[in-house]
Amino acid sequence: MSPAPSSLHLAVALDGTGWHPASWREPVASPRDLFTAAYWADLVTEAERGLLDFVTIEDGLGLQSSHFLDPDERTDQVRGRLDAVLIASRVAPLTRHIGLVPTVVSTHTEPFHISKAIATLDHVSTGRAGLRVQLTARPNEAAHFGRREIPRIDAYDQPVIHDLFDETADYVEVVRRLWDSWEDDAEIRDTATGRFIDCDKLHYIDFEGRHFSVKGPSITPRPPQGRPIVSALAHDTVPYRLVARAADVGYITPYDADEARAIVAQIRAEQNVAGRAAEPLHLFGDLLVFLDDDPGAATARRARLDALAGEPYTSDAQIFAGTPSQLADLLQELQGAGLSGFRLRPAVAGHDLPAITRGLVPELQRRGVFRRAYEADTLRGLLGLARPANRYTEA
């Protein structure tokens, strides 16, 4: 049974102890457990308890920083993290329905490795994998690899940024071609001829780009979803174009319904330009949430955390502090502006994630806009996306 048309999709973005920089100081946080499997298993099973579509897991090729481009050498915030793909894979056998969408960085890594890693995550989770692709223009992260220098940037419209986004588009193209490089029925196990595979159903991808060339085929057979979900966060025209060209799900950060409408229109226009108008592309609103049953409690918590941090927390995304009912109102209003779902960033993972699963979700269910049971076994299924045909299969 597919969800009713008015249903919305809900994901949660996991990052350390939560998105507020002082979240680790809350009694409910377990900052010493951050580098254990049990910590992540608890969060993801809680998200699954709330029937969420998927979780994303943040990552990066350097220490977290409050600065846009440089390390901050702060000691009062969470620093250090585990590889997001491996966290996702570690929790996959412990969950059954929820989608697992780790962040992967396109700038210094190998598309061949990432393609088989996400394909393997899809095999391990039997069809629940995706990725959130992110690039990095941080000079210190480039120095961790020592392969190239990235000029300092200060705005989105500089050539280096265009180049990094073009590289990311190439990267996604290669990752997807590699997923398709095995046809679904390539493994034949034909004992009569002794052939394990049908070579005609494995394909070179022969990609040649400015930053890399990849021959293929993948070493990993086509994943259960055919192509796992590709998602990206976008705040400006250049990244909107990447979402329009390359993503199945885009995360955007409107502060109100009008802004949401404008961004949606811009991305849909880019989607037309890219010749993808007919392809489904979910646009999710990103919101950072402080959620309590008592409206005063949420704002008080926010104020307390800001005081602990020593400054008011600002975010690229709208910050919401209120009750599940108020948040449901806001989500439905934004949904009306053309968003099909939301990626909520819990301010404090140990508090706001359960508030989402046990407060917001029941409220949305009462309103008839959120599932009451998982209706599909794959992430594509939950998002209402068909399993794609293989580009290399001859009709």
Binding site: P31, D83, L86, R90, R195
Partner: protein, 452 residues
């Protein structure tokens, strides 16, 4: 005074993409579904094995310009499947083969440190190298590395990764909720490496993992490979499976350790070992013959002969005599992505030798390949296998074995049920895990934490 009994180390090699693996057997399951990996890992853990071992290859093999289709083709990403296996096991070590040529130290160190955290200290890294442009065609670097530089790069890669693992000392995270100090030191993870192959600096972003560093395996057999292992490795995945060859290798390697200031017990020698197990020795011999014929079909025999002849031999009858033409000794090899073809250093001599062997024994091509190929290392009843394996270890032919079953995923079940209890009765194999980390299982010290 009698020498105390050595404790045997046992590991399970997930059946690989070569003709040891018999996919045509009706019992053979999926080589890619996670349920196969989970079954295999759980069997190994039930049997109290030290670790599971995964091989890796970064380009599908080709022969005669086509993807090689007679063996299992396709496998998962090593790190990703090992992380998932950490969820379905509690003690079993998780050893992954990861290439030092087509990766970068910062990323690989992050992945191993993460795997070590996520498995509670059970990760191990089999460091391998390659240089071929054929594999390089899948990567940013392409085929850039001269063959003679591959060990120098591998050494520097491992040294750099160790610098990254050691860049956190283990006491940096205070996470003091009262005072608001998360990190003791703003420079946690700081590193600078300047070398021939890597010139990198910054801060590593994964705090020190339970084992400090993953257990390091080395698998190469060349002079350089042996020296690399003696200097750097915790264990060797070797191929010397007979008693005499095993003892010679064992003595050679262990004698190299002193010059690096290391004791013989700081480097374990663990050869790969295949086996044929049945209720009686006679039945096991019969099974071994049958499996060899399954492993070497007529088509496989021709392809294996091509490794030496370096020519298309598809027109020959595998049940007929060997080709009377000589091998092509040109540089471009018919087989791509397969290390084993380098074994035949003088193909013309090998071809002459094989022709004589086949004529003397009245062997067909297929018979020849079956007889010159690797027979199972251990063949026999449970009692015979337990006795032989113990003898090999006590006679210093190895410190244990990495078992390579021929059936996925159930090929280890019978060994676990029938042979392991006999080894336990002899007092040479653990009945319970005594520690939690792979270093504990292998009796290896944890690397010292350098105080910050």
């Amino acid at each position: 005074m009698t020498k105390p009994l050595k404790q045997i180390h046992l590991a399970a090699h997930f059946p690989g993409v070569n003709n040891t693996t018999v996919w045509s057997d009706p019992r053979a399951g999926s080589h890619i579904e996670f349920s196969s990996f989970a079954h295999f890992a759980r069997t190994a853990e039930r049997a109290k094995f030290d670790f599971l071992f995964l091989a890796e290859g970064l380009r599908l093999r080709e022969q005669g310009g086509e993807i090689y289709d007679l063996d299992v083709v396709g496998r998962p990403d090593t790190f990703t499947v090992l992380a998932a296996l950490a969820a379905v096991t509690e003690h079993l070590g998780l050893t992954g083969t990861i290439n030092s040529t087509f990766n970068e130290p910062y990323e690989v160190a992050r992945q191993f440190a993460s795997l070590d955290h996520l498995s509670g200290g059970r990760s191990a890294w089999n460091v391998v190298t390659s240089w071929d442009a054929f594999t390089g065609e899948n990567f940013r670097r392409g085929g850039f590395l001269p063959q003679e530089e591959r060990y120098s790069r591998a050494k520097e890669f491992l040294a750099t990764a160790n610098e990254l693992f050691d860049s956190w000392h283990g006491d940096e995270i205070l996470a003091d909720q009262e005072t608001g100090t998360f990190l003791r030191d703003a420079k946690a993870g700081a590193f600078v490496h300047t070398g021939q192959h890597f010139d990198i600096h910054g801060q590593f972003n994964v705090p020190r993992s339970p084992q400090g560093r993953p257990v390091i395996f080395q698998a190469g057999d060349s002079e350089e490979g042996r020296e690399f292992a003696a200097a750097e490795a915790d264990a060797i995945f070797s191929r010397h499976g007979t008693l005499e060859a095993g003892q010679a290798f064992y003595t050679d390697i262990k004698s190299r350790l002193a010059k690096y200031g290391r004791r013989p017990d700081q480097l374990l020698i663990l050869p790969a070992a295949t086996f044929a197990l049945a209720d009686t020795d006679a039945e096991a011999e019969e099974l071994a013959r049958e499996v060899r014929r399954q492993q070497v079909s007529g088509a496989t025999a021709l392809k294996h002969l091509e490794f030496v002849w370096n020519r298309d031999l598809s027109a020959y009858d595998p049940e007929g005599p060997l080709p009377d033409i000589d091998p092509d000794v040109g540089d471009d090899h018919i087989s791509k992505g397969r290390a084993q073809v380098r074994m035949y250093r003088d193909p013309i001599a090998t071809a002459h030798e094989w022709r004589e062997l086949a004529e003397a024994n009245k062997w067909s091509i297929r018979d020849l390949v079956i007889h010159t190929g690797n027979r199972q290392n251990f063949v026999g009843s449970p009692a015979t296998l337990a006795r032989t394996i113990d003898e090999f270890v006590q006679a210093d032919a190895s410190d244990g074995f990495i078992l390579v079953p021929h059936i996925t995923p159930t090929g280890l079940d019978e060994f676990a049920d029938k042979v392991v209890p006999l080894l336990q009765e002899k007092g040479v194999f653990r009945t319970e895990y005594e520690g939690t980390t792979l270093r504990d299982h292998l009796g290896l010290a944890h690397p010292e934490n350098v105080p910050s």
